[in-house]
Amino acid sequence: MSVIGKYFIFLGSLFGKGEKLSVYWRRFLEECVGIGVSSIFIVAIVSTFIGAVSCIQTAYNLVSPIIPVSTVALIVRDMQLLELAPTITCIVLAGKVGSNIASELGTMRITEQIDALEVMGINSSSYLVLPKVMAAMFTFPMLVIFAAFLGIFGGYLAGTLTGVITEKDYLAGIRDSFVPYNLFFMCVKPFVFGFLIATISSYQGFFTSGGALEVGKSSTGAVTNSCISILIADYLLAQLLL
């Protein structure tokens, strides 16, 4: 309980007396590059292959003559929009971005860089963490939209190249029974997950004490706790919004 209390106090400190707006804007742009742009490659690889595999496996399980082949594409699309693109992408990002944030802040803590900021009278948590949180909440939804597109495209590639579904059936399937609300739901998830990953990882890194071993532990803790919180939040969001 004390950890949770400390986490919320930490969140409160992010919105304490801050610095000049121009400083935050510059830091936000830097973090958007560090958190968002640098994650494009891994997100592209993961989502394309997940889309491809989900198409092949769905087709493998739908062997009934009464189910149209285009259903494969419909299932791939809905799996991508509702679960795979937002949740799996954010779990991957928890590993990449979360560990990066925790180790960066942990190293800054043990090398007294955070102390140096505090001695200057700078709100270190706000200066270091708030731009990361904002950048994660801004870039994660974009990465997830990108991931959903590539996932569906990966399914198309795998389906048409292996012959399990024709191009015409796949395109018909992804247009069939489309619910626009699912797109909104898909974008809400990474917004929430981005906040959780950035704040939990920052918390882990910010309160690191000791040496290199503890930085490693903070990094592992950041990924583990972020993944658990994503899964819990995923369930709660599904329950609340669907």
């Binding site: 610095e19 000049k20 007294e112 860089q113 102390d115 505090e118 001695v119 009278g121």
Partner: protein
């Protein structure tokens, strides 16, 4: 001038500082010396506001740091320059950006004013040529000098140095010591140095405090330290074989 009154601090029931009281005068290099684990760094952290003491007060020209509101604390903080043990340079910034950082964050100076000030400070510590290099590309001694440049860029009234010689060769140590002393005298700063380096004590120590197991056992001037009768201080001073032979 900085005054500390009856500073006490304990961690998990273990007393680290047992009521330290002292005064540090303007324009002097004040040294806090003692062996490892005697509470020197904790005392420094209590003075600069990183660790809140359990009791006691720290006065900056009469302003009580811990009993002031946040605005006063903030203004006192902006009058401090701190050189951390490892330099504490920001890894993602160049030497120049590190030195300019306090100006970017805390002032509304124009770009040219900031550039002039940074160039002056880097020139003062002899690192003009390294301005564009990253911290990972410079030596330990250079990092300390960049740390000093960053500490003086805001024209501080108080300069704190946490073991400025640690990890440096003797020649570089002497240069760092001389630089700190020159800056202290030139700008009439109140400087406090944490060290266990005997060369520093003999070279630049003006007012010296000796800590032992969280207590202040001795305080005085450099010229008096070798005549001390305090057994723990004698043991600390003459732990070096060469100095023991000199004493003999």
């Amino acid at each position: 001038m900085i005054e500390i009154n009856d500073i006490q601090k304990a961690f998990n029931g273990k007393e680290v500082l047992k009521g330290i009281t002292s005064k540090f005068e303007k324009g002097e290099t004040n040294l806090i010396i003692g062996g490892s684990g005697t509470g020197k760094s904790v005392l420094l952290k209590c003075m600069i506001g990183l660790v809140k003491p359990d009791s006691g007060s720290v006065l900056y020209n009469g302003r009580d740091f811990y009993n002031s509101d946040k605005d006063v604390q903030q203004s006192i903080r902006r009058e401090m320059g701190v050189l951390f043990q490892g330099g504490a340079l920001f890894d993602s910034k160049t030497v120049e950006e590190n030195v300019r950082f306090p100006l970017d964050m805390l002032t509304d100076q124009s770009t040219s004013e900031k550039q002039d000030r940074v160039a002056f400070c880097l020139q003062r510590v002899g690192l003009e040529a390294a301005a564009k290099r990253m911290p990972s590309e410079i030596s330990g001694g250079m990092k300390k000098r960049v740390g000093i440049a960053r500490a003086i860029v805001m024209n501080p009234m108080y300069l704190f140095c946490d073991e400025p010689n640690s990890g440096l060769d003797p020649l570089t140590s002497v240069k760092i010591d001389e630089l700190i002393k020159e800056i202290t005298e030139e700008y009439q700063i109140t400087t406090i140095i944490i060290t266990h380096d005997m060369n520093s004590v003999l070279e630049i120590g003006q007012n010296i405090i000796f800590l032992y197991q969280g207590d202040k056992l001795w305080e005085g001037k450099k010229d008096d330290i070798t005549k001390t009768t305090v057994a723990e201080l004698k043991e600390f001073l003459f732990s070096n074989k060469l100095l023991r032979e000199m004493e003999g």
